[in-house]
């Protein structure tokens, strides 16, 4: 957003403009030295919500906050030693360290604007380092662009600058989304509908025949007529029930198809969701949505397209027949209708939130399952079964409690409706019965005969079923809405960017370049802070640093698991975001610390990424990965069926299989993330051998704790607290006597100690 040409994150509040002078005329902020950009804070320095702002000029910062003397403070760049954003919990301050050693807090803000605060601090420091203004301003501009922008229609923030506004998307779009699944089956559904209308029409016949029976056939003692009527009834029943059987079958098949389509789509979408989605959403909840919620939606869609129409038809049909038989009785039987409708609305409102709450509880329960059942080995190892059971019980009870509350309302509702309906029939008995008796006594003809009365009661029963249905529809609707919401959460979630779009460069040479990359998972902590480096094709880069330094995060960004970083990542000189993601990942071999195995044969696990690979290619890959030896010694060799997540293999064996997988990809870039961290030194040696065979001629990034595994590296990158503090050939780093040098010393010392211990043990066991 720009205001009079000044970049700002929010419109600058009037009170600040009043103090600072207008940007366009007269005031301090206009004229020759205009601010380059502005940052509107949402907290005061005292930590309360309020207005504050920072204007960044070419040579100074001016901050407005009630805590500064006179409400404003100005600092010249030349007096600043360092500007930084100190991130606290839920808020941050822009802090200036002066050359005189004093610090000054200029501005305070919540995480909502912290990213821009970072950019402002970076800007100040870059200018002070002598970088040109224009170039430094680009970084700031990128930060403003990156800030989630606003929907032009409703002003709400968008998830990403160019995503659609969910708010403005509108209800019709939601319906459209689901209507799509019904479309292919419209013809079938219409057929079902016609069949239903037919059976409904037939269902209207028997009560009328009852009237004829009671009024003329039985009093007239007409046996042959009786037989004819019974035969007629029989054929009506046969037609009715056989047609409705066919219809039920058709409907079920169609419904199942619809739900399977929906499930497929949700599942497919779930595959393409970015890692950040799974960081926040439990897999249990996703599974629950794919399984349970789709079914809810299916049943609702069928209700709407089928039952609603049928019931409406019944309703109209019954009213017409009733009116034709006796309009006075018809009006009487309508008396409870307004009550039924009012009740329906009242209950509907109360029930909606209950379903939502129930859903949440259900999901928590489900999440425990999906957490603990696969983790059963860990649970047993910690003999934690009892705690796990308790936790499950607690959540189950929670659900039960919520369900109990909901049940009161949910079961009271139909009961009340049925009660009202029954009262309706009482009125008919009372008035209609009175009339019939009156006619009998006086001999008059009011038109209400016993037959009319009996069939009327029957019709009235049929008439209330649809009323009940429509009153209940709201409840079902709410239930479904809760489900639809969850499904849309997945269907509408931003998929990973441009999957299947973008360039597909023929060959990836393997040059990787980070340009001022900053990244945080959530705004509370910067995991990577202004990281820049260049890796040339064919480089073997060892990445070292303490745990949590951000090594894996560098890899995650290269793999494009997370896309919302600031700065740029280039591969062969092109922005990775412009390269087709599918294509790009296909050129990377990624071996993780805990390789993921699937419940399948070893063979299929190796060919996982390349299902078309030739058998001998796979044997070759296993050879290179030093896996062939142990696989061939297994009784079922390549056909060995692995358990879930590779149960049945040791860590080192799994690791070698995952290396074989990488070999098969023939990747341009190889990444090992602590591939040998969890194995003994013997196995490590085997894996190391495999790795060294594999990396020939490929750009390789290797994260390793044991520096001895990095002997093939021609460059070392030392990551510390989200920054790269050393990067270069190992000899140079050692000569520099910096962090890498220290790490080597520490490790060789402990290595020696270990060797000595091992020798001692050996001696002991020998003697």
């Amino acid at each position: 957003m720009e205001l009079d040409g000044v970049l700002t994150n929010m419109p600058i509040p009037g009170e600040i403009l009043a103090k600072a002078g207008d940007l366009s005329d007269g005031g301090e902020l206009s004229g020759g030295n205009r601010p380059l950009f502005a940052l509107v804070g949402d907290l005061t320095l005292k930590g309360r919500y309020g207005v504050s702002a920072l204007f960044v000029f070419k040579d100074r910062l001016t901050a407005f906050d009630e805590k500064h003397s006179g409400g404003q403070a100005t600092v010249m760049f030349c007096d600043i030693a360092q500007a930084k954003v100190k991130r606290m919990y839920g808020n941050a301050v822009l802090r200036i360290e002066g050359k005189d050693g004093k610090t000054l807090d200029l501005l305070r803000f919540t995480y909502s604007v912290a990213d821009i605060g970072d950019a402002a601090a970076l800007f100040v420091n870059k200018i002070n380092e002598g970088e040109p203004v224009d170039q430094s301003l680009e970084i700031v501009k990128a930060a403003y662009r990156n800030m989630r922008s606003f929907c032009p229609k409703c002003g709400r923030k968008l998830k990403t600058p160019d995503s659609e506004c969910l708010n403005c998307e509108g209800k019709s779009k939601v319906i459209q989304k689901f209507a799509k699944y019904i479309k292919p089956y419209v013809k079938r559904l219409i057929l079902c509908l016609l069949l239903s209308v037919f059976t409904t029409a037939l269902a209207l016949v028997p009560p009328y025949i009852t009237k004829v029976m009671v009024d003329s056939v039985i009093p007239g003692a007409d046996r042959s007529m009786l037989l004819t009527i019974i035969l007629l009834l029989l054929s009506v029943y046969v037609a009715q029930f056989s047609v409705s059987g066919i219809r039920a079958y058709l409907l079920r098949v169609t419904g199942d198809r619809i739900v399977i389509e929906l499930k497929k789509d949700v599942y497919a979408k779930a595959q393409f969701l970015p890692m950040s989605f799974y960081d926040k959403t439990s897999t249990g909840s996703v599974i629950n949505r794919i399984n349970g919620d789709t079914a809810n939606i299916q049943s609702f869609m069928l209700r709407i397209t089928q039952e609603a129409v049928v019931q409406a038809f019944t309703l109209v049909g019954v009213i017409i027949i009733m009116l034709a038989m006796d309009w006075r009785l018809t009006l009487l039987s309508l008396i409870p209708v307004p009550l039924v409708v009012i009740c329906g609305r009242y209950f509907g409102k109360r029930v909606a939130p209950m379903y939502r709450r129930l859903w949440r509880r259900g999901t928590s329960l489900y999440s425990i399952l999906s957490d603990t059942i696969p983790g059963v080995r860990v649970i047993k190892a910690f003999t934690n079964e009892k705690n796990t059971i308790n936790k499950y019980e607690r959540y189950a009870n929670d659900w039960l409690e919520e369900d109990k509350k909901a049940s009161v309302t949910v079961s009271a509702f139909p009961t009340v409706i049925t009660f009202l309906i029954t009262c309706g029939s009482l009125i008919i008995w009372l008035v209609g019965g009175g009339q019939v008796i009156g006619d009998l006594v006086s001999g008059a003809q009011s038109g209400i005969t016993t037959g009319v009365l009996v069939s009327f009661i029957a019709y009235a029963g049929m008439f209330y079923a649809p009323v009940n249905f429509f009153a209940n529809l709201n409840d079902t609707y709410q239930h479904t809405l809760a489900s639809a919401e969850k499904i849309l959460d997945i269907l509408n979630a931003e998929p990973e960017h441009d999957f299947g779009k973008g360039n597909k460069p023929e060959r990836i040479k393997g040059k990787i370049e980070f340009k001022n990359v900053s990244f945080s998972f959530d705004r509370s902590k910067k995991v990577l802070d202004d990281v820049s480096f260049v890796i040339e094709p064919g480089d073997v880069v060892g990445i070292v640093g303490t745990t949590g330094a951000g090594k894996s995060t560098v890899i995650n960004l290269i793999m494009r698991y997370y896309d919302d970083y600031e700065g740029q990542i280039l591969v062969d000189g092109a922005d990775v975001k412009d390269i087709d993601m599918d294509h790009f990942r296909g050129h990377i071999g990624y071996v993780q610390q805990e390789p993921m195995m699937f419940r399948d044969t070893i063979f299929n696990n190796i060919s996982y990424g390349n299902p078309d690979a030739h058998v001998e290619q796979i044997l070759h890959a296993a050879d290179i990965a030093n896996a062939h030896g142990f696989i061939s010694r297994l009784p079922d060799a390549y056909d060995t069926l692995l358990g879930e997540r590779g149960v049945g293999l040791s860590g080192g064996e799994k690791q070698r299989i995952s290396i074989a997988r990488a070999v098969l990809e023939n990747p341009a870039i190889l990444i090992f993330d602590e591939a040998t961290a969890a194995v003994d030194s013997e196995t490590e040696h085997l894996i190391q051998e495999a790795i060294e065979r594999l990396i020939r001629g490929r750009t390789t990034l290797m994260i390793a704790h044991r520096l001895s595994t990095l002997r093939k590296a021609n460059k070392i990158m030392v990551v510390d607290k989200g920054q790269i503090i050393e990067f270069g050939p190992p000899e140079e780093l050692i000569a520099m006597q910096g962090k890498y040098y220290k790490l080597i010393q520490i490790q060789s010392m402990s290595e020696k100690a270990r060797e000595m211990k091992e020798e001692e043990n050996l001696e002991i066991s020998i003697t």
Partner: protein, 162 residues
């Protein structure tokens, strides 16, 4: 490696700069420029406060803030209050919901504020002690200290989201 625990009166704590504190032990030792942080920001507001030096290394842990000398206690509490911005929601002024984006306008102990909740399933957490934790679209946090102490209207507004 032994960890230094602070139990109570053996140390005097004074403010150094903003949210940094100095420790003066009665045996004469002195540590300066430490930053207090909660080890249990959600479940233990005054228990186990770690004191970190500028490198982020832990110098000591306060077992229980309430056992400190009154002035020291106040110093620590002020620092924590300054560092942890978790506004306590007193009242819900407005709540609207459209397509799974919630917009709440609330009155907090730090003033009135409007924020968005993008994914209420993970963003609103019901704790067992009756507190409710809320995370907004920008990862700012809020707390409702006691749901049942809210006024009726606020409760009805929030109820469906829990």
């Amino acid at each position: 490696m032994s960890r230094m625990y602070i139990d109570g009166p053996e140390v005097k704590i004074t403010v150094n700069d903003g949210i940094f504190v100095d420790l003066d032990f009665y045996d004469g030792r002195k540590i300066t420029m430490l930053e207090p942080k909660r080890l249990f920001p959600i479940s233990g507001l005054t228990k186990y406060i770690t004191l970190l030096d500028e490198e982020g290394n832990e110098a000591a842990i306060i077992r229980n803030v309430d056992a400190l000398l009154p002035e020291s206690r106040q110093v620590i509490l002020n620092c924590l209050e300054e560092y942890y911005m978790i506004p306590k929601i007193k009242r819900l002024i407005k709540r609207s919901e459209k397509f799974r984006i919630w917009l709440w306008t609330v009155e907090t102990d730090r003033g009135v504020h409007t924020f968005e909740i993008i994914n209420h399933i993970v963003s609103i957490k019901n704790l067992y002690d009756g507190r409710i934790l809320i995370k907004d679209a920008n990862d700012n946090r809020y707390e409702i200290p006691d749901f049942n102490a809210l006024d009726r209207r606020s409760r009805t507004l929030i109820m469906p989201d829990l």
